[in-house]
Amino acid sequence: MSKPYRLTCALFIFILQLAPFQILASEADSTIKDDHSSHFDYFLNSEKRGERLFKGLTRTPVEWQSCVSCHNINYIDTLNWNPSAKDIAGTFANKSIDEFRSVLMSPLGKKMEKSHKDYSFSDEELGYIKSYLQKLNNSVLYETKPKVNNLILFFFLGALITLALVDLFFTKKIKYKIIPVLIFIFAFGYQIQMLAEGAMALGRKQNYAPIQPIKFSHKIHATDNKIDCRYCHTTVDESKSAGIPHVNLCLNCHLIVREGTNSGKFEINKIHAAIENNTSVEWIRIHQLPDHVFFSHAQHANVGKRDCQECHGVVEEMHVLKQVEDLSMGWCLDCHDKTAVDFRENGYYSESFKELHEQLTSGAIDSVRVTDIGGRECARCHY
């Protein structure tokens, strides 16, 4: 696709997405204007009013951006550095209106300062917003809709198969038999493929990139600030788990670095809050092997000298961490088949595997792969 063409497309989609908002907004405006008396508001409870305020559906000066334009309510795929509505709701759940106001009106970070400029809300309005946020806090946000598309497709293919078969044997409307046969073969084959893919994906989380409680970006830490992986994942060389850094470790830097370039103070404050309130940070686990698989980081990162990226992808390029590989057994074995064992450096191998070592030194073989020393055997990982 050519670049201009893509741009046009993006613009078109953007407008399409904005459209419902604009329609809604204009409607809302007109309602307010037509019905100036407060009896309409009377029917709205405070949560509803808060919602309208938050979404900018009520009279707000045009120059103000509505809250929702930065603090998203719905799940979005891209990274939004600003705290989401739910985040804010959680933070201010037990705070008073005054505190809420002070934060809202007297911005802390640079970015916030820019956008919150000239905001003025009455206490009443702030109360509404707060009660709306309260509601958000209590409700489960980001409801993931079941992916019905697959199911519809599956049933559609089923219907096609039925029709093809019925015609093939009974109705015989189609003159060329090859057509229903082809339809059958294609549809049935596709169904099988869907099932197979679905079955293989069971328990796998390839491309899983959940929203984390703190908007932690590996890109900023590892690439921009050039922090080594092992600075935080301290136990990778000695233990089976690489270790998710304990919260206190974050403070090594964030005692000083109080404000981020992208997210301002909000995200970093969560670390301080966790330490102060003695609450844990509940990260969402991404890379996870089933219980019957034993995987040791020490074996792979320390002994095997594998780079983190070989399994985890280019983490240092990720704002939102994502599982890159499917972590299936076949994937493990592929690597075991290819990877050479470090016979020259590590005394364990050269002393324990004498025969192979001799062959290697005599040049009979050029490398010993993991498979050659039992890397495909069950009890290496399953016990």
Binding site: D326, S328, M329, G330, W331
Partner: protein, 456 residues
């Protein structure tokens, strides 16, 4: 056409082609009697009970069976081997007797083959439900998967999977190919439009064209040629479940022939059990004559004697081998806690068939029926003796143990009996129990009308 002057007629009662068609199709066209309804009620309730017990097993675990750390297989595998054995008669009759040009097979091969299929269905259930994780039973198929794993081609149990499924498929093909002309017959006779449509569909558009018949004959013969070694292979492979192991009493090279003979033995017994009733109830005495029964009885003596010799050979070899474990295993069979099972087996399988040397008994329907039941029981106990009494006292006396079935295991067995008879009862209502076309083709040569036609 050469007609043996001393052979008795295979079809009696001066039949014409028309009469044959009418009489054999009668059960399909008429309304079932009360006996049939009573029968199917009984068998379906047995089946439902069995299904409930299977569900209970899968839900709660194999612990609901009477097995234990020492005895990993009990009734389940006993029933499996028993049913597979029974499933041997049908294809044996159709295939091997076809190859040997035994014309008397024509009256009994259809129902025997049907019985084979039902028995193999019953048998196939057991390996599945005896698994600890039947939901993962598909692991036994070598399908490509993301784990990169295949199955273990060294395992007799895997050979079983292939053998039983191949056997079932080939038997089904063989049976159905034979059925096509007869379904054509039914299609052309049936009045109800809907049924006509169904039978039309099932008859695959059979017309009776000479070219079709030629191909049909050819394929029947070659399928028979393939099925004959298949029949022998299936029970041989089942026997390797035991023969390739190290357990005394299992670890025996005699097993393959011994199992095959036993299988045909028990299969014929089951055919007799079914047909003696069927011929009576469906008025088919002229097609399944006493002569047929006698012929089958002769096979029973032959195979029964082979089985008997195998039993005695086993004992001899156990003694002659000088292996103390082997010697003990056989001593334990005959005199240990399960002595009664051994002696039931001996009585039913070795002693009772020898009575068939007497012609009068061989031709006596009541005796044959009772004997066939005896043999069925005896053959069940043969497998029980092999499996349970070998396992319960093997190498280390510290692990010796006893086995008692629970109601769950018994219920599953009853369930498979229910399945088997339900299928058979449905079969006799739906398809001709005797191969119409084949009987017609032997009518001239082996019917008792032969003198007349020769004069003609």
């Amino acid at each position: 056409m050469y007609v043996s002057p001393i052979r008795e007629p295979l079809v009696t009662g001066n039949k014409t082609y028309k009469k044959i068609t009418d009489e054999i199709s009668a059960p399909i066209e008429g309304k079932p009697g009360k006996a049939w309804y009573a029968g199917i009620t009984l068998t379906v309730s047995a089946l439902l009970f069995g299904l409930a017990m299977m569900g209970y097993t899968i839900w709660n675990g194999i612990g609901t069976w009477g097995l234990n750390k020492t005895i990993g297989w009990g009734w389940g595998i006993t029933n499996f081997v028993w049913w597979v054995g029974i499933g041997h008669a049908g294809t044996f009759i159709s295939a091997i007797l076809l190859l040997f040009r035994q014309k008397w097979r024509t009256s009994i091969n259809r129902s025997a083959e049907a019985m084979t299929l039902f028995a193999v269905m019953c048998a196939g259930l057991f390996p599945l439900i005896h698994m600890g994780r039947p939901l993962l039973g598909f692991f036994v198929f070598p399908y490509p998967n993301t784990r990169g794993l295949w199955v273990n081609f060294n395992s007799p149990l895997l050979w079983d999977v292939f053998a039983i499924s191949t056997y079932f498929t080939v038997s089904l093909l063989f049976w159905y190919v034979g059925l096509i002309p007869d379904i054509g017959t039914i299609r052309d006779r049936i009045k109800s439009k809907f049924k006509k449509w169904i039978y039309g569909l099932l008859s695959f558009g059979w017309t009776g064209s000479a070219k079709h018949w030629q191909r049909h004959e050819s394929i029947s013969l070659i399928l028979a040629g393939l099925a004959a070694p298949l029949v022998l292979s299936v029970h041989s492979i089942v026997s390797t479940d035991f023969a390739t192991s190290v357990i005394p009493g299992w670890h025996t090279t005699i097993f393959p022939p011994y199992f095959v003979a036993g299988a045909i033995f028990s299969g014929f017994a089951m055919v007799l059990t079914l047909l003696i009733i069927t011929r009576k109830v469906l008025n088919l005495e002229n097609y399944i004559t006493v002569g047929h029964i006698e012929s089958m009885n002769k096979i029973i003596i032959a195979t029964g004697s082979i089985v008997g010799i195998a039993y005695i050979t086993e004992l001899f070899i156990a003694w002659y081998s000088g292996v103390e474990y082997e010697q003990y295993a056989f001593l334990n069979r005959a005199t240990g806690p399960y002595w009664w099972a051994y002696w039931i087996m001996m009585t039913c399988n070795v002693i009772s068939p020898q009575l068939l040397w007497i012609k009068k008994l061989r031709r006596n329907l009541v005796f044959t029926f009772i004997l066939s039941i005896f043999i069925n029981i005896g053959m069940w106990f043969e497998r029980f003796v092999i499996i349970v009494t070998s396992l319960h006292r093997d190498y280390l006396p510290s692990s010796w143990s006893m086995y008692e079935p629970t109601i769950v295991e018994v219920g599953i067995f009853i369930g498979t009996l229910g399945l088997f008879f339900t299928c058979f009862l449905l079969f006799i209502r739906v398809f001709p129990v005797i191969a119409i076309a084949e009987v017609k083709s032997v009518l001239k040569s082996s019917g008792d009308k032969k003198d007349k036609s020769e004069k003609h």
